[in-house]
Symmetry: C2
Subunit: 127 residues, 2 copies
Amino acid sequence: MKNTRNTVAKSAILEIIQSSKVALSHVEIQKLSEGLCDRVTIYRILDRLMIEDVIHKIATPDGTVKYAACHHKHEEHHIHNHVHFSCEKCHSVTCLDTVKPSYSIPKDYLVKEINFTLSGICKDCNE
Amino acid sequence: MKNTRNTVAKSAILEIIQSSKVALSHVEIQKLSEGLCDRVTIYRILDRLMIEDVIHKIATPDGTVKYAACHHKHEEHHIHNHVHFSCEKCHSVTCLDTVKPSYSIPKDYLVKEINFTLSGICKDCNE
DNA sequence: TCTTAAAATGCAACAATGTTGCGTTTTTAT
DNA sequence: ATAAAAACGCAACATTGTTGCATTTTAAGA
């Protein structure tokens, strides 16, 4: 793996993502970081954090991209096989780490990643 | 439901989507339609087709949005609970209608839509 | 068939999101 | 301390999606 460095901005952004209960979009991260660094730098930091596998990208049903911390720190060859929940009301995206999906698929497909997103009303909005 | 009309452009675009084995992005639809209509019109037609529930939107893992025909024509209150496969190599997105996912989720979540996308190498690219 | 209101379209302009090149600054290994 | 590599800021660009408005097309009723 190409060597990536720990910088002030990178640590701050990772901290923002890790301390958030919900997955964050680029714009949300930008607002939370309050002028910490350039918009472009955030994109580059997100790329690095994904290469290092400490965060993962989630494509939400409406087409927006969000980022969340990985909670499997020390596993090798892991896949992000957990369920995401996307709330229609508050637009939050959460990782439901405890829920494991099951599926079967024809043998001639090679599965490397799983992106299982349920959408509807989250527990906080579901009065 | 607001009345939507069948126009030349709408029929042509629906035909393109229905006759495609893979899900298509806006850009791909635009190329296949070869100057049939304006770029903006394609967006509006896609919106209408989704409202009418004859196509559905798929958010691929890399964040791009694709559209595919629905194959459940006459069901009411259906949800798109089938599996999508996204190929890392040829970037095709296919609906695996026969594969049904199963999952369990805490009761306090209200699930309305399911988006289950597997990614890896599709059967055509898998040697 | 003719009329007409609503829906659809094209165009231009805009907004949001993501990317690239490059000169400068910071990090880290030596 | 030094130097190479990585990260950064900035500007410019590319892509993707949206909005307003004048014009055209559709479809339903007279």
